[in-house]
Symmetry: C2
Subunit: 366 residues, 2 copies
């Protein structure tokens, strides 16, 4: 193999696929990056057998071929080289990398030991979405997925159709998020691992206006402008989470997101001793939200905020971290918070008609 | 005690002194901040018995007094409150903090348990310097001080006079830095702990054009515009480091600092297996600097750079991290590197007449 590429393109490609190499991989070869010529392009790929990430770089192919080298070393080397043309040449068991007055050799391994990259043979579902909408959906849902490996279906985000819409939803039993993504005529029910969705978030491409997402029974592919991320799906049935969504709330308030962010942060300083528990109470007569936290040893904090209220007076205890997480992803300058007594789920949405995103937090029993 | 202060001023003061509280302190009270009214100011102070840091904040004193509260909690609380006026009031064993619609109480302890803040009774030496010059001097010298507690004198920076100049110097036995700070008529010989100098670097004040540094036999005070940092000096005699400075070099080159930074970074990628060792060689016929590193398992890297040379051809092995550290603090767009064979110290200075800063690195025996 002998090719010529630009440092900028190769460095971006290696940065995108490099994280997958070596992640949770016992096999030595999975710490390597695959370099392979294809037509007038150099394919750069890595896999951990669950996720495979591939990027294509425009290249001048002098001699076709393929080779694998340690991901970390080549990624750091190419990132450190100056801008300009890089010559890559495989000789026997080494890759020679020339750029300006710098010459490096990296010892590598034949691509014969590298696993086959996954392909989708029978397309079950195909969706085209703007990249920004995909990123927003991922950011708004992965935070409520579970880390508990004993219930694998909850460690992913449930992409599915319902009443003519495509939804993404995730829950860890303490909180739940649901995003209505777009109208969609077909049928889909797939649980995508959060690690895969994080890779999609972190992959940088210049030309990704829209992304094609293709599903078969066991896999999903995100087709980006310069490459693909392929992943297995999580096997199993996602719980019927819709029954957890309250149809109405006894108490609710609307207010500015940033104002509540600040007083939740203040309250959390005094909530470390109590597992993050803070008390919200709503006075519908004075239109006041009060957030209070008590650290028996250190002191206590009380913040009042003028809000718009409706319904009856009410109070509820929440984990300040969950509330903080939700405020960070609502994506709206003002929001609505609804609840019914101390035990029912609390519902947060943007303060608009028909919000597309809903975030639910279970109260702490006080 | 009852006072009114602005959030901005109190937050900056707490941020400046807070790091000292609790650092290496076994005594519970040393995790607290001392708040004390003095004339029309609130003094905010912390100490770990080695370093004491004091800041003064303009305040409206309603009732004079003093109190101590946990440093971490009050620092975070005040930093999180919005801009504006803060009311502080001591009632029995708590500090009440009111700001807008936020009320907090923090449990505290009487100042009677707090250690006396150090004072200087007999001034031995007094120097006034621009803050920027002090910060440059600290940045250029602390990196070569030792971490080895078995030779305490080497864990500080040696501020001293020599031939009518004030110098700062530090060495860990592998490298040495020396800064000629300013002309100075008096006599000084003091070893300042690096932890103290780091506090000076990290303390932010708006109005510090010049700083007074006052020494007695055992202490130093850095008098900043809004406060002081007081520290014990390190007891002992600093070694006669000047004998280590070569008077001439057989081989030398001058070049741009950024160019060498890049090729040292490239070389360091392949130097992890060999304890960071990289080889520099200078060819005076072709005016080339070559930096080479070999990782037997992974590969190797060679970079050439056009430089200006003088003297004879030569080669030397260095720790790439030391070279990288030195390049980061030279403070000059181009520099001179001189050495004599493989065993003598290498000398780096800015490429100007009479450079004020000198950085010396001992070679690795190859």
């Amino acid at each position: 193999m002998e090719v010529q590429v630009t440092q900028e393109n190769l460095s971006r490609a290696l940065g995108n696929v490099g994280r997958v190499a070596g992640a949770r991989a016992n096999l030595e070869i999975l710490h390597n990056i695959l370099l392979r010529t294809e037509n007038n392009q150099l394919t750069v790929a890595a896999t951990n057998l669950e996720i495979a990430s591939t990027q294509r770089v425009g290249a001048k192919i002098i001699k076709p071929g393929s080779f694998t080298v340690p991901a970390k070393l080549i990624t750091e080397l190419i990132a450190t080289l100056g801008k300009g043309t890089i010559d890559l040449k495989v000789t026997n068991t080494t890759l020679l990398i020339k750029s300006g007055k710098n010459k490096a050799t990296i010892n590598g391994v034949s691509d014969e030991e590298f696993p086959e990259l996954p392909i989708i043979e029978k397309i079950e579902s195909e969706i085209e979405l703007p990249l920004q909408l995909i990123k927003d959906t991922i950011n708004q849902t992965i935070l409520t997925a579970s880390n508990d490996a004993t219930r694998p279906v909850l460690t992913g985000v449930y992409w599915h159709t319902h009443d003519g819409y495509l939804y993404a939803a995730a829950t860890d039993g303490y909180r739940l998020s649901q995003k209505r993504i777009t109208e969609h005529a077909g049928e889909l029910s797939a649980i995508i691992p959060t690690t895969t969705l994080q890779e999609v978030l972190r992959t940088h491409n210049d030309n990704d206006d829209t992304v094609q997402i293709v599903f078969d029974d066991t896999q999903v592919i995100f087709k980006l402008a310069d490459g693909e991320i392929t992943s297995r799906l999580i096997d199993g049935k996602f719980p019927d989470y819709r029954q957890l969504i309250p149809s109405s709330n006894e108490t609710s308030f609307t207010t500015k997101t940033d104002d509540v962010k600040q007083i939740v942060k203040l309250a959390s300083l005094f909530a470390r001793d109590s597992g993050g528990s803070i008390a919200l109470s709503v006075d519908t007569t004075t239109n006041q939200l009060t957030i209070r936290s008590i650290a028996s040893e250190y002191g206590e904090n009380t913040s009042d905020l003028d809000v718009q209220t409706s319904g009856t007076d009410g109070a509820v205890h929440l984990n300040s971290r969950y509330l903080n997480d939700a405020l960070a992803v609502l994506g709206s300058p003002s929001f609505r918070f609804g609840f019914s007594g101390t035990l029912s789920p609390c519902v947060m949405t943007a303060d608009i008609d028909e919000p597309e995103y809903m975030h639910i937090i279970m109260p702490i029993k006080s």
